[in-house]
Symmetry: C2
Subunit: 454 residues, 2 copies
Amino acid sequence: MAKLVGVTIEGMNMNRMVQYQYWDKETETLPREELEKFQLKLLRESVNRALRTPFYKKRLFQVGITSGDDMKSLQDLQKIPFTTKQDLRDAFPDGMLAVDRREIVRLHASSGTTGTPTTIYFTKKDLERWASYVARCIYGTGCTRDDVFQNMITYGLFTGGLGIHYGAEMVGMLVIPSGPGNTGRQFKMMKDHRTTVVHATPSFLLHLHSKLEEEGYTLSDLALRKAFAGAEPYSEDTRRRIEELWNIDVYNSYGLSEMNGPGVAFECQHKDGMHLWEDGYIAEIINPDTFEPVANGETGELVLTILCREAMPILRYRTRDLTSFYTEPCPCGRTHRRIRRITGRTDDMLIINGVNVFPSQIEEVIMGIKEVGNNYLIQVDKDGALDRLTVKTEVGPNIFMDDARPLNALKERIRHALQTTISINPKVELHEPGALPVSEGKAKRVIDTRPKDV
Amino acid sequence: MAKLVGVTIEGMNMNRMVQYQYWDKETETLPREELEKFQLKLLRESVNRALRTPFYKKRLFQVGITSGDDMKSLQDLQKIPFTTKQDLRDAFPDGMLAVDRREIVRLHASSGTTGTPTTIYFTKKDLERWASYVARCIYGTGCTRDDVFQNMITYGLFTGGLGIHYGAEMVGMLVIPSGPGNTGRQFKMMKDHRTTVVHATPSFLLHLHSKLEEEGYTLSDLALRKAFAGAEPYSEDTRRRIEELWNIDVYNSYGLSEMNGPGVAFECQHKDGMHLWEDGYIAEIINPDTFEPVANGETGELVLTILCREAMPILRYRTRDLTSFYTEPCPCGRTHRRIRRITGRTDDMLIINGVNVFPSQIEEVIMGIKEVGNNYLIQVDKDGALDRLTVKTEVGPNIFMDDARPLNALKERIRHALQTTISINPKVELHEPGALPVSEGKAKRVIDTRPKDV
């Protein structure tokens, strides 16, 4: 399957006919004009809700906004100042809470390893709406209640696990709440229950596949057809690689806890860009330096306003995620615009000897080289006064580490390809399969040991 | 609070008036006669459902049961053979499935470290009913939607986490899905969100308290009032100890994944025995050697028939858990009978030099001694031909390890108290607080290194 799709010409799948299915056809295919009218109505409600919070009351009064009615058109959104992660931390715990604390039935929180965690509150209605957006995403990939879904993402405070879980339950799939880790057990359950769909990080999907043989399974033991991959950025080449290794379709998932979690944007069966649910979110893409909107189709920082949460409205949130809009409508018929896969985060950007480099650019280059294995690591340190970039990659299973000549040739090919793309000459190291550290949650791909103040 | 309750005379709390509250008053206080009529109706339905499964069709036909109508009275239940954990394993994956696989929306599984895990299936309706039993338990302890609930139990395949989570959500409490571990973060969230109720294993509650000072908190930073403690057996003395340390009420929770998970039986505000929901389960207590019912009020093995699950009916399941019924009704007005805290499992029983000993007996003795700390370990090994029992306990925080005389006196007191109760002369070892291994999930309290065949 994976080999037949992914080739698109003028927005149409070349190699198969797809019968698109919709969870909520009316909303998903609402004409743009009506969709925008609906957004404006919801925006006014959200601004009114926000005005009930100490944080936004002050922030909005400062710019003369005292009522949702001040939003005469969607353009007026731009009068509202941006909200940042730091604002969320400063407003913790109650500064952005728009309902009585008794109305809250759930909270989720980021891990908060640095400073105060970001905490998001939900009312019962918020949870229902969140689940319905996730159900829309899942159903939109062609899944139905007949599917068996193994959720290999951490449950608990992290939104990825429970978020997708509730949506899958709404679709009526058989949900196996396996969580991450324990590869042997994952395979056993996949086989015993004929799992057809999994949700995992792209790095866990690669790691799991590398254990297939060792755990005593072959692909023919499994019934896997689809994977939802998210929680960390990954390149199109990584997607193709996962699809080919597993012989499945991989759907890209986008979300962030500040905007509920998963369910913000998701690929449809067409698998070319993620539909961002514009009845739940208003999306802008800005130049992170000038704060001006970029031209349609150009890359910039995604800014989101949540319309589908009453407990905690957040207006114009700077996600730090870099993406762009598709300018053409999707052949699936959904009118909600598509965003491109996240190519990086504004705060991920490495400045190496003055040159801007995104880890995603490096991934794209190395994952495009067949002989490169499934795990890699980017290291930046100081070599005297200069920055030094080292890219460590595992080699594929069929590469012999004993024979220096082809290894050196491969190293040189990787080095050259990287230098061409990122304009930096990196040191390349090749490692045996399995030699680099593996993470079962979000992969830690970049180690920057340079002093912070330089 | 904890110091005022727990003393009961003729079923009444001596020291406080309690305004009992019910989640589903009509069902919870149904007159016994009607309750038993209702059980019979549900039993017939369950037998009919079971007859749709390959396992029970064969098993029931063997004893001449071909229809739910063969259950003329609740007495007829005894015609049905017991179901064991091994039966569940043998019938895996579909042998006990009474619905089309498409109807299943969730599965849970035991960890299955030894052999095939026990796997339980749920339909959508099953999940709703399960949550409603858990809601009944939670509300019955006096919690309302105003409470803030931190669920310190593992989420995922284990039923304890998601089971209580869904019930708490139904009650409308603010649910913090913290999961276990990370004591610093647990305290921070308890303080930030004014957590009033937690769910944890008793050993984690003791462990967490031992970290209170180290993590920079005092009880007055917290708003904790209640804890649900379950997932491992514990003694009444352990409960009192947790209540005194935290100055809270601790409610005992009983459940097992074969019977959905938590929500089978739970203590009410009266805190004296766990109401077993007899509209969801038929409970019998049998002599595990003769399989005959014990006299009312006597201790034996709990056998349960689930009436509230359509996906996977299980009839007369031998839980291995040892308990007894209360013979008196509870002052709270609920008509559903109470069981005593689980004193052990038939398969936990240690035979030491021919004498039967339950780990719970040992716990009860040592936790009743004030100078003993919060962690202990039971070790059994061979000393030549004989078995040797070693009981290792930590001492409390105010005991100095430098002064041998009082330590030896304490050791001798523990030894003597144990010998009096279990008729075995143990070796006693005292350890510093924090010296014994800590588990954040179910505690591993017994290490038996004797060869298996002896």
